[in-house]
């Protein structure tokens, strides 16, 4: 019993327990955590992928100051069948989408090429690659079960990070060990110590989004004296205040042109990059336009719940209200600053790549953690016996098998015809099939390193051919993409090619025999 021990032994027992609980929790959640982080890298680059994946978005980004919005918007909203209230116009450039979108809760979105002012044949549900990658990041394909599973995994992630740091502080780890176990341990600790600050915020917000809103139901119930169990009924009106209901005059009057209204809003607040316009009671003499966007001069404080806005009269452009970044309730500022690092709304390519690099490093740290556990198990076997262990095979399939499966997802995006029935269902089903087949192959092969090599080669090839398939089937060569200022799309092609090349390089370097593997890890790490 620990209370019979002297203080020195008590400390020792505490450290031992800390290590054991870290190992048990870590190995239980490591694969899920890896999946979330791996797909998180793609989710970070979502704005670029969602433009790359759609043929309808392959056009030059227009100069937003020279776009004639009125000629596209007016004919749509003048249609008597089109709703007159709460019409949403998403301006080109929002989330790097070059298209102009007119939407309403009860109407299918209408999409324009702002340069040619032509209606676009939107792919709708036929193309959902970026969205699917994002859904894989937080367990959405498994619905409520997925949310809960990934949410609890994020909680476990926070526990592991904090517990791991306590261990690093309390236990004097040696970094000069020469065997593979000590190398895995060293890099697992080192990387997580470096990435600790952003990682803890990302896991905290992830847990909040997946289980925090559901889990806070009892608290919401108590706080509202039994009026509601849904936290959004309480937090929603503070974070996302609804537009006030404005009585219609029930007349029809001419509206000021959208271009003029945008210009007026720019004069009111030149710091805002306007992204979304909401038309209220349009064509009525009570008409209002709410122009909201992102203020890049105040990062971390706006972009999610806090959207600085200018409200003008639709009739004469008179200023009705002006909301600046710091006008938001303090809870909104806290909410935005905490979620900013996770959702990355409005940030530039450099910041996205920086966070993606941190996430990529985290996948390595997770990989080293799992390898450390597996290597300790493998030590029990003599050198001439292959290590055939279920967790090793499962880890191999999930951590390395995900590479060819995701590569196939990208390649299929430009192989499958866009008018194919059930296109997206076939694409994601083939992805699942490929991922599952890596599990079957892992259990079929005795040598896991040989299997890893094969998966990396296959994944590398699939990632490398994806841009080639894109060039061929989209009809745009790299030069044309460059000359037509479609650098967002070209950068995805380059990224995929580099990604694929790196996998092939690692596959080439990876040894397959037990003795060479030990040398590989001890010399390379």
């Amino acid at each position: 019993m620990s209370h019979d021990l002297n203080p020195k032994d008590k400390k020792k027992v505490f450290r031992q327990r800390l290590q054991r609980v870290h190992v048990a929790t870590g190995i239980s959640f490591s694969l899920l955590m890896y999946v979330a982080v791996f797909f998180g890298i793609f989710a970070i680059l979502l704005p670029y992928i969602q433009v790359w994946e759609k043929p309808s978005r392959h056009f030059q980004t227009a100069d937003i100051t020279k776009i004639d919005y009125s000629s596209m918007i007016e004919p749509i909203i003048s249609n008597p069948d089109f709703p007159r209230n709460n019409i949403i116009i998403t301006l080109p450039g929002y989330q790097h989408d070059p298209a102009l979108k007119i939407s309403h809760e009860f109407v299918e979105p209408i999409v324009f090429n702002p340069s040619t002012q032509k209606l676009l044949d939107n792919e709708k549900d036929q193309s959902q690659l970026a969205e699917f990658l994002n859904h894989m990041h937080y367990g959405r394909p498994f619905k409520t079960f997925g949310y809960l599973l990934f949410g609890f995994m994020a909680v476990a992630g926070m526990f592991l990070i904090i517990g791991g740091l306590i261990q690093v502080i309390l236990i004097k780890y040696k970094n000069n060990g020469k065997n593979s176990v000590s190398k895995f341990s060293k890099w697992h600790r080192k990387i997580f110590t470096w990435v600790f600050p952003p990682f803890i915020i990302i896991t905290l917000t992830g847990a909040m989004m997946n289980i925090g809103y559901f889990g806070s139901a009892p608290m919401a119930f108590m706080a509202s004296s039994g009026k509601t169990a849904q936290v959004w009924n309480l937090a929603g009106p503070v974070l996302f205040p609804p537009l006030p209901t404005i009585e219609k005059k029930n007349d029809t009057v001419p509206m000021l042109e959208i271009n003029q209204l945008i210009k007026k809003a720019k004069e009111v607040n030149p710091q805002i990059d306007f992204q979304k316009l909401t038309l209220i009671n349009w064509k009525d003499s009570s008409a209002l336009i709410k122009l909201e966007g992102y203020n890049p001069y105040k990062p971390f404080l706006n972009g999610i719940s806090n959207k600085p806005s200018v409200v003008l009269s639709g009739v004469d452009g008179k200023l009705i209200s002006h909301t600046k970044v710091l006008d938001k309730h303090w809870s909104g500022l806290v909410y935005d600053s905490v979620f900013f690092l996770h959702l990355l709304f409005g940030v530039d390519a450099f910041t996205r790549l920086f966070i993606a690099a941190i996430m990529a490093m985290s996948t390595f740290a997770l990989g080293f953690g799992v390898l450390l556990w597996l290597e300790k198990k493998a030590r029990k076997f003599p050198n001439n016996i292959p290590v055939y262990q279920w967790m090793g095979k499962l880890s191999l399939s999930i951590m390395i098998g995900v590479i060819p499966a995701t590569g196939l997802l990208f390649a299929l995006q430009w192989i499958l015809p866009f008018d194919l029935e059930n296109r997206f269902l076939i694409q994601k089903s083939l992805f699942a099939l490929m991922w599952l087949s890596t599990l079957t192959w892992s259990f079929y092969r005795l040598n896991s390193y040989q299997t890893a090599k094969e998966f990396l080669y296959l994944g590398g090839i699939l990632f490398m051919i994806s841009p080639l398939l894109h060039f061929f089937n989209s009809g745009f060569s790299p030069l044309e993409l460059l000359n037509n200022s479609m650098t967002n799309i070209l950068s995805v092609d380059i990224g995929l090619f580099i990604f694929g090349f790196l996998f092939i390089f690692v596959a080439y370097k990876l040894p397959t025999t037990k003795d060479k593997i030990q040398n590989f890890w001890t010399n390379k790490l």
Binding site: D81, Y147, F214, G215, Q230, N384, P386, K393, L433, L439
Partner: protein, 167 residues
């Protein structure tokens, strides 16, 4: 253990209450009018959702109007058989058979294939298993079974190797 189950069920219970589904309610006013009410399962109003009455004999739109701010419309019942459509955009279209007037419908329904094709169909996000899903599911299941078979065979192989190693 009971407490853990209770907690999980409680969370699952709360998660299901988050659904935001469009609902259609039709009231017979018994004076040859109906009141069409559109609302969400959360209690929110469905202002601006389109209400259409479509003839079942010709597929013609007999009446159409977007829901006002009160989220309900009182409509004269047509003389011919019809269906009520509440169009809430993609994946959210509700169709309900129309209520007959007090004196009954004066026209009969002529079931024609082309008319049926023109009529709006209900579109609610229902997770149904299509043939494609079933095929892929069977393939996945086959792979899982193969995994178990390989695991069994290889484990035996390793055990045999260990046995020889100890001899």
């Amino acid at each position: 253990m009971k407490k853990i189950f209770l907690f999980v069920f409680m969370i699952l219970g709360f998660t299901t209450s988050y659904a935001h589904t469009l609902l259609l309610d039709v009231v017979d006013n018994k004076n040859n009018t109906i009141t069409v009410i559109g609302k969400f399962s959360t209690g929110d109003k469905a202002e601006d959702a389109m209400v259409r009455l479509e003839s079942l004999s010709t597929a013609q739109v007999l009446y159409k109007k977007r829901l006002p701010s009160q989220s309900e419309l009182t409509i004269q019942i047509p003389k011919e058989p019809y269906q009520i459509v509440l169009d809430g955009g993609p994946e959210s279209v509700i169709v309900q058979k129309g209520i007959a007037p007090l004196e009954g419908f004066t026209k009969n329904i002529k079931t024609k294939k082309d008319v049926d094709a023109k009529l709006t169909k209900s579109q609610q996000t229902i997770d149904s298993w299509t043939l494609t899903t079933i095929i892929f599911f069977i393939l996945c299941l086959t792979l899982l079974i193969l995994t178990l078979v390989f695991s069994y065979k290889n484990t035996n192989k390793i055990l045999h190797m260990i046995k020889i190693n100890h001899l």
